[in-house]
Symmetry: C2
Subunit: 566 residues, 2 copies
Amino acid sequence: MTVNKLNQGKQPGSRKGRGSGIRAGLFKWTMLAVALVVQQAVAENSGERIAQKGAEQPGAVACASCHGADGNGNEQAGFPRLAGLDAAYLEGQLHAFNSGSRKNPVMSGMAAPLSDQDIRDVATYYAGLQPGSHAEAPAAVSTAAGEQLANHGDMPNRGLPACFKCHGPGGLGVGESFPPLVGQPYSYTLAQLKAWQSGDRSGEPLGLMKAVASKLTDAETESVAAYLASQPLSAEDKPASQQDSGNMTTPASVKTAEAGTTSGTSTPLHQGPVEPGREPGAEGYFEPPERGAWPDGKMGEIVRMGEAMFSATSTHPASAAYVGNRQTCSGCHLDAGRLANSAPLWASWVAYPAYRKKNDRVNTFIERIQGCFTYSMNAQASAAGHPPDADSDVIVGLVSYAYWLATGAPTGDRHMAGRGFVQSDESATGFDPKRGEAVYNDKCAVCHGEHGEGQFARGQVVFPPLWGPDSYNWGAGMHDIKTAAAFIKLNMPLGLVGPVQKQAKLSDQEAWDVAAWMNSQERPQDPRFNGDLAETTKKFHASKYDYYGKLKKPDGRLLGDGAPGR
Amino acid sequence: MTVNKLNQGKQPGSRKGRGSGIRAGLFKWTMLAVALVVQQAVAENSGERIAQKGAEQPGAVACASCHGADGNGNEQAGFPRLAGLDAAYLEGQLHAFNSGSRKNPVMSGMAAPLSDQDIRDVATYYAGLQPGSHAEAPAAVSTAAGEQLANHGDMPNRGLPACFKCHGPGGLGVGESFPPLVGQPYSYTLAQLKAWQSGDRSGEPLGLMKAVASKLTDAETESVAAYLASQPLSAEDKPASQQDSGNMTTPASVKTAEAGTTSGTSTPLHQGPVEPGREPGAEGYFEPPERGAWPDGKMGEIVRMGEAMFSATSTHPASAAYVGNRQTCSGCHLDAGRLANSAPLWASWVAYPAYRKKNDRVNTFIERIQGCFTYSMNAQASAAGHPPDADSDVIVGLVSYAYWLATGAPTGDRHMAGRGFVQSDESATGFDPKRGEAVYNDKCAVCHGEHGEGQFARGQVVFPPLWGPDSYNWGAGMHDIKTAAAFIKLNMPLGLVGPVQKQAKLSDQEAWDVAAWMNSQERPQDPRFNGDLAETTKKFHASKYDYYGKLKKPDGRLLGDGAPGR
């Protein structure tokens, strides 16, 4: 039974599915399947044995004695749930106890006797178990600030991303680097946050958790831990390893969760515990209305729908039909379009209608947003095949949301501080995709994937694809290296830039180079492509910051030659 | 030859055409035609004789001795042109010299000996002459303030309408009450303005010229007279009596004149001579950007196009195809959408998107404007048959113009002073179309016509039709009696309300009654009409301020029953 159960997780075509190579004739397929089942059964047996009875080596006691027979931890004692966590993540943690990058006197002793194979086996075993849901928040700790921080963070004041921005919708975990945050005991999560802050836990990619956790006050740390503990794992949620990252549909549970995060019940951060001197607006940027301070009635409904679509454009039931890739508006307009220097929507709203060289005419705000669908969302490849109509709920929702964000902003002000991205000139050494590749692998791949393919969870985009068929197309503003460098410089890597992104993590050179690498990759065709690459290049891609029709792909053809779509 | 020439002016169907009853068989038609020609030839001969040689009575000298053999006046002496002026207007003036309501020692003597028939004959004669163009502005007087006042007036500060608002495009005259202002000697026009101010000239409808001229400073009076003298009569312009009021096309000369009035060359009024204490903004209302302070480049072009369409919606080459009646945006939004308490566009812009009960959804500003076309402009009966598309030049132009007017206004402010119309509750005696009819005939008909048919000149709408096929339809906001009363109260009669319309001319009771009269008339069908009057009434016209489907027409049918269009 456990073998069958494990096999459920190996869906053909899934990123981790070891059976994905099974494509030959019936005989070959049958033989391979038998071999795999045997191999996995062995791993299972070894992992299960260590978990339930301990390893053969002296001192390696049964994991189950603390983490429970079902692997779901021990709430009272604060022992974490292991069931359903990503195998690679669990494996990494056991090695971290051994190396000392994760300091824990008990676990160091437990992990020390295990061989690499033991570690792999036990991690695989726990990854296959069904997660239970038993965590609870302590009544004495308010979850209000935690709810706000987990769902929205505090980007404007602290460059603090939402927990769920990386750990995925509902905090249910993403891939091997971002474990589930919910369904763990309060005391465990609190201890981990404190460990990141103190340095007792480290070794995570880019030092992200150290950077992020250190931005929390003590009261916030408790509130976040309490909120996370208060969020039950949905009964419908499969273990993270069984998630189908290619699934474009949104499960009902996620839709519900999403509606919850945009409801009027969330507490404005202003009323939560905010450190002195961190009052919103201290940086001198325009302040959009607080989340949750929605307009009344149907206007409020459409504004909230607008925010929901903005944050999940490719999967929201209304907007998904017009998105031909796996992008969201908030992928380029961080913090749901609220963040200064990240092309905030409040600055865009007051700047339209405006003349755009791109189509050589004055564009209304609606036409501008339709342009986002045409290019950044590659609407041509969507179910509808075109951007949403001007009077559709999708456009009305997005427009109303932008308008609401701009409440109080002066009409026609084209010079609001923090508008657009902050451009920097390239250095004397220019920009170089080869140099950029190294930057990418070092600092970007952990989230966006080794091949720029992005990461997904519960059907939602967590880290948007940067190239390939699910990325923005060759007509999008982001394909311009200068624009991409400007976005990247002050906004990436998420969580490592300073308050309102004033402290950049990447040098100008790194930003330019990694932008060049990203934009030296193939992506969907420019919808203005007229069938002639040279002509289209001359007409729309003459800029020196544009590789379309100029740089050669590995197959010897030029970028744009044979690009999918149109 | 003169007979033929005179006949040119009697076009069948024109408002003044005496031959309009000629519809019977060939014989009857021929006989009548002969009779008319004979009758007119007699009138001609009598009028021409008086003009060129004087009347038979003692003291009635030849008009030509002062007004010139061709009737085009005498520039040096300041004697006015009579050629091509409206016959009824000329007739009225000769009677005015006799009655003393127009005081002029010379003309009183000249008019006194003339019989009523003489006066009619000589007026008819001069109306049929071709106007010449010989006026010139004196070099010493600046025309800058005059240009601004003639084209745009100063509604916000003084409730002062543009000269051309009533005297028609280019000041070429409208009907019998609004003579041409251009093509007259400077000294003549100056003397007339001073005579209105002093009371030496009076008796005009509603005391309009007294009210308007008294709002001018001495310097402005001179500048206006100089500007009007500087504007040549176009060679293409026919005498006013030969204008085809039914002509929907815009002559090239008017298009040029219109472009001129919206060009960047007009002088902002702020720099002209403005009376102390009348600085713009003194009333506490939002100030849109000054006319002429257009944005640069293509944005400026489309904003100017927007203003031009706003002021001449039914005839502008771009917007005409979407207008199924003879209305302009500026008919309800005075001063080209700039005026407080007249539904100014700067207040509308910042208030959209917004929920509208009318279609039970949140409307973008674009959808709102498309609604104006559907209802106020009755687009269903237009050449296109529907409102302009969201990305059309018409919509982009109007939207950009509204956006520009709102420059600096706070996004989302739904409480700007002067927004919309100022509503008043009806009195204990309610509202009554019968009482309203008397108000209408007394105070409205001189401009809007006895039958609410409006007045037109050079193909342009001067006074919009208030009912009938060329008016707004049964779905327009203005068909609501309360809304119409609110508009009328502070905005009508034009020129008689005070600065930013604070001094109303009509009592609340009069405004309500005349609104009831106007909206007790038939007009184009509500486009939401579903074929069943009772059902449509119940669904969309349940308000007690709405006569649709409730009040009986003279033919015994209910309003809306058989209304033209759909």
